[in-house]
Amino acid sequence: MKRQDELLMPEARKEGLIVRELSGEVLVYDRDRSKAHCLNSTAALVWQYCDGKTPVSQIARTIESAINVPVDEEVVWLGVEQLNKSKLLKSTTVPNKMSGLSRRDVMKRIGLAAAVALPVVTSIIAPSAAQAANCLPSGQGCTSSAQCCSQVCSGGMCA
């Protein structure tokens, strides 16, 4: 009988996303969640090969042949875990033994001399227009809390 993790074939989410490639990184904007993500080269490769038909072990081998360096399966699992947390995969259930995998765990297992950079997904919540605009300091006249740096407009004055 096959192990649960051998059966898992993660699939990248495509709907509601805007994707732009940079040199070696990928920017993804999630319209549904108003979040922006930056995928480093390894995370971008993992995401690219998550087609819903390929198991993680095979993804590792595909990336290996694409970049011509050894890629440990655990590295791919770390990428899948991060992409899953960032909601960039279609409802993927990461097996228990793999969920919560940290960069440190993977480093310990495969050693510091990994040939490929560990996958990293960095995310921010896109600011609303008011958040990105200037705010008013304490004591200044205001008409709504969003105008104040303190986010509190009380009695027409910023707290």
Binding site: G24, E25, Y29, A36, N40, I124, A133, N134, P137
Partner: protein, 291 residues
């Protein structure tokens, strides 16, 4: 004023609003960064008080059809009474300020107008940032209020850089920076003070008009005693720093990504804590071979 001469919204609803009851005495339609905006006031001469607060580079428009309509109501001192004693500002019929002080009402008007333009301008992406020009390239300093960007902009202008903005880096789809050269808002005595506005000429500087390619992005926050030792961010990390300060991030994400990609693919993004402003000024000037 005859109704046909007043500005009116492009999209009209049937419902009446509070502003319908006023007798408008003067009005103005203008364009700013591709948007047409109207203002109507209930007092003759009131427009003169408002004009200095319009976005830089605004131009009068002959068309009365606008995308945003401001209505400014100034109470009649002679009438007295409590009900009419407040200055009122409406944006598209919705009240955005009601205050006894005209200055506060104008501040609210300026703030709402600025945000409207920054969020909805077509073909432009507004990043909250200070901008100066050095040797034909723009230095972009993104940051929210109190991050010290205006002090840095002012110091660079005093050192000879060309002033572009202390509020927004206005990017086009290629990542070029356009000016938003309003007077600098400088807080003289700490961040609790209301800022004083200075024309760039009073600092011995001058404003730039020509769009510039970005030469460097400086992400810094003031920390007393810190030494400026910036780290160069990857293109993606730099893009996230700019996105975190983009006004139209949610409304126009595709345009934002395009413009920001144009910036980070050409210019280094440096990040670090800074102490004295002069350290950063010297660093930038060294990197650009002086002024």
């Amino acid at each position: 004023m005859p109704k046909r001469d007043l500005p009116r919204l492009r999209v009209v609803t049937d419902s009446k609003d509070e502003t319908d009851e006023y007798d408008w005495k003067d009005s103005l339609c203008f364009t700013s960064y591709g948007l047409r905006i109207g203002i109507r006031v209930n007092r003759k001469g009131a427009l003169d008080r408002i004009l200095p607060f319009l976005p830089p580079g605004w131009k009068k428009s002959r068309s009365q059809i606008v995308e945003r309509l401001y209505s400014v109501v100034i109470p009649d001192d002679a009438k007295g009474g409590r009900r009419r004693a407040r200055n009122l500002v409406y944006a598209d019929g919705e009240r955005v300020a009601a205050t006894p002080k005209l200055e506060q009402a104008i501040d609210a008007f300026e703030s709402d107008l600025q945000l409207f333009v920054a969020e909805t301008a077509p073909r432009r992406v507004f990043v909250h940032a200070g901008v100066v020009g050095v040797r034909g390239r723009a230095i972009v300093i993104p940051g929210r209020s109190f991050s010290g960007k205006t002090s840095l902009v002012a110091a660079l202008v005093r050192a000879g850089a060309t002033y572009y903005s202390d509020e927004y880096a206005v990017l086009d789809e290629r990542g070029m920076v356009h000016h938003y050269a309003r007077p600098l808002s400088i807080r003289e005595n700490g961040h609790l003070e209301k800022p004083t506005k200075y024309r760039v000429e009073t600092l011995g500087g001058r404003s730039g008009v020509k769009p510039l390619p970005v030469g460097m992005v400086v992400v810094s926050k003031y920390q007393p005693g810190a030494r400026w030792r910036p780290r160069r961010l990857s293109e993606g990390e730099g893009a996230l720093e700019l996105m975190a300060n983009t006004v139209s991030a949610r409304r126009q994400p595709a345009a934002m990504l395009e413009a920001i990609r144009g910036v980070v693919s050409r210019a280094p993004v440096l990040k670090g804590a800074r102490g004295e402003t002069q350290q950063v000024v010297d660093f930038i000037l060294d990197n650009f071979g002086g002024l």
